[in-house]
């Protein structure tokens, strides 16, 4: 009898996770980093491996850090919005190319357009760990003092852009 109960037991465990997962709302997890200084990083540029970008260089301006990868399917969903945002010139977008291969990443940008002021590479995901990257894509709003003010988990949508990100950027730039 007991061994016939095993499938049911496994299912109950699964249901508990799914129920907790429903409450989590993956796109709205508050990041413990909000209101804290953005972790400092220094890494190679995607386009020019010889050059480095340090995050402190961005002090004094409001900027977006967008975590992306060529293997990430959802990135394709948000990408046209980022390209449009970059074209509008409201805010510079910096890319963090996460656990990716350089040639694939460059091809991807050629294919879908490059909204990034620059992209830095994070092949092993070290910077991603510092930032608590949950899944790709993610987007951080970082203010003039280098403090993380907002974190968008999952693709940027028209709604999140208009209701949350753009007003916040205006306020921070003001």
């Amino acid at each position: 009898m007991t061994r016939f109960l095993l499938p049911l037991a496994a299912f109950i465990v699964l249901v508990v996770f799914l129920a907790v997962g429903l409450g989590l709302k993956p796109r709205e997890v508050p990041s413990p980093l909000i209101g804290k200084p953005a972790p400092i990083f220094q890494s190679q540029l995607l386009h020019e491996p010889g050059k480095m970008l340090a995050s402190q260089d961005n002090l004094g301006k409001v900027w977006l850090l967008n975590v992306w990868a060529s293997w990430c399917v959802s990135c394709r969903e948000e990408h046209p919005l980022l390209v449009e945002l970059a074209r509008s010139g409201i805010v510079p977008i910096y890319g963090l190319n996460y656990k990716d291969k350089r040639d694939l990443a460059l091809q991807w940008l050629n294919q879908y357009g490059d909204p990034y002021t620059v992209s830095v590479v994070d092949p092993e995901g070290r910077i991603g760990i510092d930032y608590g990257v949950y899944g790709v894509p993610e987007t951080y709003v970082i203010d003039k003092n280098g403090v993380i003010r907002h974190k968008q988990i999952g693709p940027v949508t028209v709604e999140s852009l208009e209701k949350k990100i753009l007003p916040l950027i205006k306020e921070l730039q003001g």
Binding site: M1, F4, L5, P7, L8, F11, I12, L14, V15, F17, L18, A19, V20, G21, L22, L24, K25, P26, R27, V29, W71, C72, V73, S74, R76, E77, P80, K99, L106, Q107, N110, Q111, G113, G132, V133, Y134, G135, V136, I153, G154, P155
Partner: protein
């Protein structure tokens, strides 16, 4: 008016589903013939009302009724008519309506083709399907009504997602859903067997063709989805291990195990409780797939509008359906008994091992899909799982499974001898090793992984040859063709499906090993050469489609200096949504695909162009088609047709007086024989 009619028909369908889910089951338990007899007409009535509901929704789409929220969100007056019809199932609400509509279609099929089954059995099976239907119609009416009005009406709709505006997408969801929903029949048979405690070879024989048909639909559905991703996403990939793809792949893996397990139960009477468990699992995973896609617990490119109340509803539904089935299983299955005994080396043990491998593979795909969620729930950190995990886990699990796939059909039931098997297969093994070692040289470069992949494929092919040769050798007198004709369809169907796996592996191996791609800046008149083909870029010019504007590239393909083809990839911008889409041009061939996609425009009419040379890529989908054909062949096997035939005989005797009718039936029976 029409949407309200649709809504009303949906409510009536719910009432009929409630009747269907209660009275026949109670009737079967208490032995009330009139309640049992209710099952068939109620099923057919429910089908009629769901067809009306679906027709009303399609009508609203075709006539651009933007006062219906669903239409306003997913259609546009510029959308071509075929996509307006397809948009009926392009949205969350519409696709769920399609889901229940198909469930009712399957139920009607069961009610029609089950004349030879005991009435109580049919009543229970249809009752279980009715209960599932109740859940889904309630879900539609409570949380996602496709007929909700939008007042005041929108002037124009916001258009169907351009990714879905494609012929492949028109038929992909219905096929996939036919597969998902089809497993509900096997599930209903399993539950009915658990309720009645009657679980024998006859039960397996009844469930088998239904399961196989569902599996065929699912196979074709997944194939179409993969093919669509290949030519529509402009990315050249054919599988992404995306949660939604995994959601369709999980029931396929378990369904494959179920098809094989049912064969053992039918032929040998073994694996009974295991088969029942698989039937429950296959359908549960179909439901779980719906939950994952619709609830928003996982983010995916496919995720439609997500809404937590929907998530809660589906989760509750999952708990009720799967929980109660597994509880029933725990309560009744121990009484089923184990069935025929078999040795450690036998066809049964090999099938069981393969079943286990398939289940472990399904388990690891499920784990990979849910891992980010589980880690997050336990507060252990935030992790994303990508294709590298799935490839690392999946390939090693499938390797022994494919090895056993070659052995199984040659092994005897009950007890086989390993040395004898090895002796019989030594040539097959030798030939496949040598071919696998040499073949990569023909392709131009020796690569260990390619050789390994080919070994698996050639092993399957070689063992099929050995099996057929020995079978013919043992089938008495006559010439080659007489002997070939003497074998049953189900025998050929097995080998055809296995051959499909081999063809699929060849495709995957060769395209992964030898595909080349170039991402080049092309000025007007410049050329790029790849795989013996030269591509000449003649510039791009604007064209306009019905609901989009596009830049269309013009590329000549030359072979040995001769122009063999013009390829015209497009970069489209859709008017209503402003979404940009890449529409690649593909030259399909038996041995390779040429694949050209436009990237970004540069100055002076130059463009970034992606060019791929993909050897044997179409073999991937051709392999899937072979598997599906194998399944179709299996359900047309003589022993299933015999039933239809004997039914005809019955009807003939009843109406024997009427000459015309009798001769018609004779014709029909003759046709069946042919």
């Amino acid at each position: 008016m029409i949407p309200e009619l649709g809504n009303f028909a949906l409510i009536l369908a719910l009432l009929l589903a409630l009747t269907q889910g209660t009275l026949p089951i109670i009737g079967a338990a208490r032995g009330i013939p009139s309640w049992i007899a209710l099952a068939r007409p109620v099923v057919q009535g429910q089908f009629v009302f769901l067809a009306i509901a679906f027709g009303c929704l399609a009508y609203s789409f075709v006539n651009n009724d933007f006062s219906v929220m669903n239409v306003a969100r997913n259609s546009n007056s510029e959308l071509p008519i075929q996509y307006r019809i397809a948009a009926s199932w392009g949205s969350h609400e519409g696709s769920l309506l399609l889901w229940v509509f198909m469930l009712s279609a399957w139920s009607v099929a069961v009610s029609v083709f089950s004349r030879h089954l005991p009435d109580e059995m049919v009543a229970r099976v249809l009752g279980v399907m009715g209960l599932v239907s109740v859940g889904f119609i309630l879900f539609l009416l409570v949380t996602s009504n496709p007929f909700d009005r939008l007042l005041p009406a929108a002037l124009e709709g916001s258009d169907l997602n351009p990714l879905l505006q494609d012929p492949g997408m028109v038929i992909h969801p219905p096929m996939l859903y036919m597969g998902y929903v089809g497993f509900s029949v096997a599930f209903a048979f399993a539950i009915a067997a658990l309720i009645s405690g009657q679980m024998d070879a006859a039960w397996a024989r009844w469930s088998r063709p239904w399961t196989t048909i569902a599996w065929v639909f699912l196979t074709i559905g997944i194939m179409l989805g993969s093919w669509w991703a290949y030519y529509e996403l402009g990315w050249g990939g054919w599988w992404f291990w995306d949660p939604v793809e995994n959601a369709s792949f999980l029931p396929w893996l378990v369904g494959t195990a179920l098809v094989h397990s049912l064969a053992v139960t039918e032929k040998r009477g073994s694996f009974k409780s295991w088969t029942v468990l698989l039937a429950i699992c296959a359908f549960s995973l179909s439901l779980l797939g719906t939950f994952l896609v619709r609830s928003g617990v996982l983010t995916s490119v496919h995720a439609f509008a997500t809404d937590p109340t929907r998530g809660v509803f589906i989760l509750a539904f999952l708990v009720i359906v799967i929980g109660s089935s597994l509880l029933l299983f725990a309560w009744r299955a121990p009484k089923v008994g184990l069935g025929g005994k078999f040795d450690l080396v036998s066809r049964e043990s090999m099938l069981l091992a393969n079943n286990l491998l398939l289940m472990v593979a399904a388990g690891s795909v499920l784990l990979g899909t849910l891992y980010p969620l589980i880690m997050d729930s336990l507060d252990l950190g935030k992790i994303s799982v990508g294709p590298p995990y799935f490839e690392a886990v999946f390939v090693p699990l499938m390797t022994p499974a494919i090895f056993l796939m070659g052995l199984g059909p040659l092994a005897r039931w009950k007890q086989a001898s390993l040395p004898e098997l090895m002796l019989r297969l030594r040539w097959a093994f030798g030939v496949s090793v040598v071919t696998a070692l040499l073949m990569p040289f023909v392709m131009g470069e020796w690569k260990p992984l390619v050789s390994f992949g080919l070994l698996l494929a050639f092993w399957i092919i070689a063992t099929i040859f050995v099996s057929i040769r020995q079978r013919l050798h043992n089938s008495g007198q006559g010439g080659l063709f007489t002997k070939l004709a003497r074998q049953s369809r189900s025998y050929y169907s097995m080998h055809l499906a296995h051959l499909g796996i081999a063809v699929f592996i060849i495709g995957v191996t060769l395209v992964n090993g030898y595909e080349t791609e170039k991402d080049v800046r092309m000025e007007i008149g410049s050329t790029v050469t790849m795989g013996g083909y030269t591509f000449r870029f003649n510039g791009a010019s604007p064209v306009s489609g019905p609901n989009y504007q596009a830049m269309r590239g013009d590329i000549d393909v030359l072979r040995n200096g001769e122009k063999i083809r013009v390829m015209q990839p497009e970069k489209r911008t859709y008017n209503a949504s402003g979404m940009a889409m890449t529409e690649p041009a593909i030259d399909t061939g038996l041995l390779r695909d040429l694949y050209v996609a436009l990237g970004e425009p540069l100055e002076d009419g130059a463009w970034v162009v992606r060019v791929y040379h993909k050897p044997f890529v179409d073999w991937i989908w051709f392999g899937c088609l072979l598997m599906a054909f194998g399944g179709i062949l299996a359900v047309t096997d003589r022993r299933y047709r015999l039933k239809v035939h004997s039914k005809h005989v019955e009807t003939t005797t009843v109406v024997a007086e009427g000459k015309r009718v009798a001769s018609n039936a004779g014709l029909a029976a003759g046709g069946k024989k042919a």
